[in-house]
């Protein structure tokens, strides 16, 4: 039996040591955030923590690099829109 984490309300299976980004990609999810200005879809690009393209919200914290966050069974991963801090807008 494999572990899974919650992604926008559905379970994503992962193996121990796998990153959130790798698990999402393996599950067929190719994008999990939109860009700030044009709203374009983004997922893994470099996959090694350098490009900051794969940003995602984990447990309410936006701008985590999906490729650098280890998947855990209790994580709540959600799609990120733009800066991920939209709630602050005034």
């Amino acid at each position: 039996m494999s572990d899974s984490f919650d992604f926008d309300g559905r379970p994503i299976p992962f193996v121990p040591g796998q990153s959130v980004g790798a698990a999402l990609t393996a599950a067929g999810v190719r994008s999990w955030r939109t860009t700030r200005l044009a709203g374009r879809p983004r997922g893994l690009f470099c996959g090694i923590g350098v490009c900051f393209d794969c940003l995602v919200t984990v447990d309410g914290r936006p701008n985590e690099r999906a490729c650098m966050v280890s998947a855990t069974a209790d994580a709540a991963v959600t799609t990120q829109e733009g800066t991920g801090h939209g709630v602050l807008e005034v």
Partner: protein, 382 residues
Amino acid sequence: MPDLVIVGGGIVGAACAYYASRSGLSVTVLDRDTPGSGTTSRGEGNILVSDKGAGPELGLALASRLLWLDLAAEHGPDRFELEEKGGLVVALTETDLGPLAAFADGQRDAGVSAQPVAADRLHDHEPHLAPDLRGGVLYPQDLQVQPVLAAAALLAEARRAGARVVTGEEVRGATHGRDGRVTAVLTDRAAYDCGTVVNAAGTWGEAVGERLGGSVPVLPRRGFILVTEPLPRVVRHKVYSATYVGNVASDDAGLETSAVVEGTRGGTVLIGASRERVGFDRSLSVDVVTRLARQAVRLFRFLRDVRLMRVYAGFRPYCPDHLPVIGPDPRVPGLLHACGHEGAGIGLAPATGRLVTDLVTGGQPLLDATPFAPARLVEVPA
């Protein structure tokens, strides 16, 4: 007209080139690196009247602010990312309130718009401000530009008016005529004949002045700026605590920090401002960054959960009396200085450029240049 050589392609050199070339002078700008790569690229692009008490610098700032608005009207505000954002100075404690109000009174008498804001109205202007501040003063005249963009745009317009911009050449010296007048500026590559040379080398103005035959005292005052991850529009004005003004004018050599927080068009929030006299040491100080971050969170609590992307350091050029040095060197005919603007170079650049141009062409000066004259700082030969 004789040739004018401007040493330094930062915001001040660029503004000198802009006004001088458009007044018909034949202009060459020399920069050892790339335009705007020194202190111009190390600040926030402030055009402030809020942090200046009544006096010559405020007069220069008010005149320069109007020139910035003229530039935006002629070339479009987007050319410089000019924003009429306004400043909001807040009192953290009851004891800050009195001095802040007195400071604003003096500014109003000098022509500054300074509007008192009661504690319970602060959030009308900045919804995210901490709830326990004691009041503040709103300064609608404060502006901001993207400084590197602005320097590049002024240089581009100067080139359109015939100026030449030479990058990657460092000034090594000058030749002088029998009367001592500067006749050419020498770089590591070439000689540039000139009738007049302007030292617009900013923080490096002392060394450049020396190479041109007339040193002026300009010293570096280090500052760090913290850059957050991009955010939606969360901070509308330039917001800072009243203690900042005291730090700007201070003569203390030790570390001074007071949070200055503002948003940018790109979405990042910039957090300054620290002041230290540590020479040209660029190394990162975790202590300073920590203090600035803590003070910024004191003003805007949401910043506690926002990450920093990077930190950068720069060197403000200051003269011993905290006024810029603008005007002819009393010892070397043909040498003018235009440096030492401390943390206000972006704001003061257009007025400096106009003043230098007026002094070179003999035109009616924009304002009285006496308070900025190099003669106040150097020994004048009998």
